[in-house]
Amino acid sequence: MADQNNQQQNNYIQTEDKPEEVLEERTHVETYWGRIWRRFTKNRLSRAGLLIVGFMVLLSLFAPFFSPFDHTNTELRRAYHPPYEINFIDEEGNFHLRPFTYSMEQTLDPETWARIYEPDTSEKHYIHFFVRDWEYEVLGLFELDWHLFGVPEAGNYHMFGTDSLGRDMLSRIIYGSRVSIVVGIFGALVTIIVGTTVGTISGFFGGAVDMLLQRLTELIQMFPQLPLWMALSAAIPADWPAMWVFMGIVMLFALITWTFLGREVRGKVLSYRDSEFVRAAEIMGAGPAYLIVRHIVPNVLTHIIVVGTVTVPQLIIAESALSFLGLGIQPPMISWGVLLDDASTLEAISQYPWLMIPGVFILVTVLGFNFLGDGLRDAVDPYSDEG
């Protein structure tokens, strides 16, 4: 308090000296969200998280642009093709600024009949950027045939190899990101909506409603999540179309994860319910809906956003685990978990290790969301030590 007075006095004295400059300084008031944003971006890890998540979201939004191939194209002749190398230095040791690749010659091992691929170093195939290939729709708005890169001379260039049907892994991973990320984000949104609604109603109205909702919450929390998800998703009929299954999985996730947020929101609402500004508004004639929407929810909002952000990576992991077991997303729809299903045996991964690449994408994406969530939590916490 004394500090503040001092400062004001200082400002006052300074205004007499240099009025214009200081006036400017005093009118700059950092908004609540501005402060959170400043604290958030100050954190190196949360900036990294923002970058990773941004990249992954772009990748999934413009999947066809980044995919060199149509991910459904099968070519049995090239099944389990190992990844092509990207080279900058050729056989003679010359450096090329434009990366290039060699085409792969396929031979059969005379003893084991296994396919062997060897690079044919006689001819270099340069990687071209912004090539025109198959057509696709951008966000359902207009058609385009530009792709980020391709190797027109070689015809086939599989950066991450191919799967059992000769489909390009990179394109499949990029398309798979759509389902994996949307399950996480969409699931978190539904979690937020249900959790906030239930928590607010429970905390605001109290009484029998609160009692009932809290017992329901406890009941759901009594079951460990993963086995419960497994059991519930086993109940999704096998003959449902892929889109329905997808929606069903999202709803199952939200059905169980909302309880945590519901508890937290209830606690916050309870404390705000008795605060003076809410009481004052109530006495002035505000109805429950107005109180909740105008006075209570805005105060709990940052908390909701933080919980929502940390829910996303949990759901991405859960979806990948379920799909990996064949209980989640069903082909032909693909997610990273579905892709990893091909890599579930030791035989598969020791012969075709590139089938594990989707797991790296899960790891990186979840890492990004975790950085984001952690940074956000620190940024909104007024008691955290930085800034």
């Binding site: 993963l226 086995p227 992991i317 685990a321 991964i349 594990m356 797991g359 890492l367 975790n370």
Partner: protein, 330 residues
Amino acid sequence: MGSYILRRILYSIPLLLIISFVAFVIINLPPGDYTQIFISQITSQAGVSQADAQQMAAQLEEMYGLDQPFLVQYYEWISGIILRGDFGFSFNYRRPVSEVIWPRLGMTMVIALGSHLVSVVIGGGIGIFSAIKKYGISDTIFTIIAFLGLSIPNFFLALLLMYIISVWFGGDVGGLFSPEYILADWSFARFIDFLKHIWVPIVVVGTYGTARNMRVMRSNLLDVLNEQYVKVARAKGLKSNYVFLKHALRNAVQPIIMYLGMTLPFLIQGAIVSSIVLNLPTTGPVFYNALVNRDMYLAGSFLMMLAVTLVIGNILADILLAWIDPRVRY
């Protein structure tokens, strides 16, 4: 204290009954029951004609009361558990559920407790170390490792470890024993072989908890070390180590104890997917097969057992907390 424990236990009884009912409902949600699977199995594999299979299925249905109304089935199941300790019959294994689950539960517990020990000792230890040397290079490295540990799906970690061990080091992974020891009696050599295998699932299941404990311990300790009573204790001239152990650490440990109650079922569920990957004789693969094959008593019993461990774990954690922390009132 005694009455507190008694009250908690009494309160949990109706809870457990409700849990068992919900578990039974969930397991019965999928359309159809085991008889359909049974019919398709014996007609395709054993070459039984469709009509005979129908008849056998009808017998099966009558034998296990699958044709009874839902509530009657539930009553039969739950009264069997309470009165006779009988969890029903596993159609898929053709044995009582308890015979399938109990032997495997032992191995699951070994893995779960091993991972738990690792996560508390190593995770807590590194967390303390990071808090003491905060913002140092080792702290940064451990922070990154902790984030990686929190972010990697454990079935993917299992795949990666399996790949690294078998392809890079030519080791033998999967299962808990080398082939020559599977049916052998316990001996020193078999025990060594067991240790060579068991560390993989322990690492896989324990990674998340270790990473979590690292983060939680570090941030708690940093918070507590900033508290005024710690500063006062230091200012009084108490030995630094004494303040650290008696004032700071004791308070920072509390959230980890609260988490204890949730760990056991959490670890068991963590072991489900990775056990399937690593082909371990634990409850995970059994639960998965039971779900896929509509082996409802087996799946329901397992789901209920997990919920029961959660309830018991929470009670134990609360008791432990009340015992360690004199501020907790009961």
